[in-house]
């Protein structure tokens, strides 16, 4: 419990001693925002780690070979992620539901295991050493990026684009019959999601001295983790996924025990509890969804339902 005590009594000391953790919360928030965009438009895409990898490798390779400034590297990685996003989005967005999820899993694993682990320039299975990384100074640009991303998405969801996405999420056919160009808005959402994941990947690669092509970094494990941010927080508005990222990233620090690692177990229990009792996520309206077991007596009077 030292963690919370320090946060409350000594915020400045907390910031200096947990800088990397705060930066990771920021990265994960951007990733959660990337997941939010696709979920908000009704697309269950798990492609974020693939675009992260593109952003990360592009920017680190530019750094290593050309010594270009950080902002340019991240911008180039982001742009490439966006271009690949369009190219991947065009064929896969015809798929729906779990089929889209599986296709995007195929994409990220084919990219990681088929391309990154086989190209000499990406260091194959060994990853890349990035001796120019700046774990402490990198946090400023991360925090700025988080604020910009959250503000951008907040505005977008309130505007024409956001309404189109919401309409597609609720009923694709109805949206189509209202004259909404469903394919186009889906592609916009997918590409924006790819761009955000590219930013997160590029920034993250500059916080660590080592780009690791492991499953926990750019594979299915990461995809699942990002999905849990958005689902736990709730994807009704942009704050949900950010809160989910904040919660799940700091959770391991809060519940750290001496010799027994309960972290994954606690995460699992929380995921099940939230999806069963609060399906709309933590940051959303409405109360708890209590499901009556069969043996529990039926309530006498049904409460009037209020939307």
């Amino acid at each position: 419990m030292d963690f919370i005590t320090q946060l409350l009594t000594d915020p400045v000391g907390f910031y200096t001693s947990h800088t990397l953790l705060i930066a990771n919360v920021g990265i994960n928030s951007i990733l959660a925002a990337s997941m939010f965009v696709v979920l908000y438009s009704g697309q269950l895409s798990l492609a974020a780690p693939g675009f992260m990898a593109i952003g990360a490798y592009t920017s680190v390779l530019m750094e290593l070979y050309w010594r270009t400034p950080l902002a340019l590297n991240v911008a180039a990685g982001t742009a490439l992620a966006g271009v690949v996003g369009v190219l991947v989005g065009l064929p896969v967005l015809r798929l729906r539901g779990v089929f889209l999820a599986i296709a995007t899993i195929g994409f990220i694993e084919a990219l990681r295991l088929g391309v990154i682990l086989n190209l000499p320039i990406t260091g194959e299975g060994l990853g890349l050493k990035n001796s120019h990384a700046d774990p402490l100074g990198g946090i400023n640009i991360v925090l700025v990026a988080v604020v910009l991303v959250v503000f951008l998405l907040w505005r977008l969801t309130k505007g024409r684009l956001g309404h189109a996405w919401a309409a597609i999420r609720q009923d694709e056919v109805a949206a189509l019959s209202q004259g909404i160009d469903v394919a186009r808005y889906k592609l916009i959402a997918f590409t924006l999601s790819a761009v955000l994941a590219g930013v997160a990947g590029g920034l993250e690669a500059h916080l660590n001295f080592f780009v690791d092509p492991g499953d926990a970094q750019y594979g299915v494990t990461r995809a699942v983790q990002v999905l849990t941010f958005a689902v736990l927080g709730g994807s009704g508005n942009i704050l949900g996924p950010v809160v989910g990222a904040l919660f799940l990233t700091t959770l391991p620090e809060i519940i750290r025990f001496q010799d027994f690692d309960y972290r994954d177990m606690v995460t699992g229990v929380i995921l099940i509890a939230v999806i069963v009792f609060r399906p709309q996520g933590i940051v959303s309206r409405g109360g708890l969804a209590i499901v009556r077991p069969r043996w529990w007596p039926r309530a006498k009077i049904r409460a009037p339902s209020s939307g």
Binding site: L44, A110, D261, G268, P279
Partner: protein
Amino acid sequence: MAQQLLNAIFIGSIYALFAVGYTLVFGILDILNLAHSAVFMLGAALTYSLVVNHGQSFWVACVLGVAAAAIMGLVIEHVCLRPLRRRRAPPIAALISTIGLALIIVAAVEQGLPGTFFAWLWVDGANSVSFPPGVVPNPTWYVAGLTLEASKVAIIPISILLMLVLGYVMRYTQVGRGLRAVAENPRAAQLMGLDVDRMISLTLVISSALGGLAGILFGVSMTDISPYIGRDYVEVRGLAVIVLGGMGSIPGAVAGGYLLGLIEVIALLVLGSNARAGVAFAALFLMLVLRPQGLFGVPLRGKV
């Protein structure tokens, strides 16, 4: 070359057996049960733990491993699926709850060190282990330049027999008819007097028992048991298998399993070991883009 082809059939049998359970749940519930790979791992881990750390005989351990997997199927149904079904939650909700359960199972095996609460699951922490030689009866024959280990050869008849039995049950028995009715339309099945909840529990039990058995076969023949075998070897490959064969189709999952085994071995021979897994996922991606119904599936209907 012939040896590699034989390996393709061995590993393909395991993929098929694993994917049959995966596809059974998807076919009946339209839900991806992502805890299936954790159940696969649990079967292997529990068998190993009982044999090596608790001195049971191999056959007793196998039975208990499959039984534990089957019970885990009931847990999946009661904890992860039934509460969501009551609320008519979208399929993505079940995706999340089964991911949660998978995290718990994997962490339990990972943390199962002697002296802790999960000691009965003690494998060896996060390390990869294998059965010590002599524990599992494993005579080896050498025929025409091929090495035939009993533990690998046995996989083929076991898998094929089980899949034939499952196919027979699904097609010709009262229970199978009930399961197919639930798959077609749960509401109508209920109105016809079927106990839908019981049918779904049964589906999960069958599916998980097959998954656990696939895990045991994998652990015995591939000599690699760790908390991560489910995640690393079959979770995503299982998806590739059921997509190749057509989602929800049992014969499709069988064919997809052998096809994936073959694709991987060809990739191994042509492109080298690094490219092996990447090729499988590229095949998955292309299959979904070009022919989403799979090799044997009927074209997908657009649901309005």
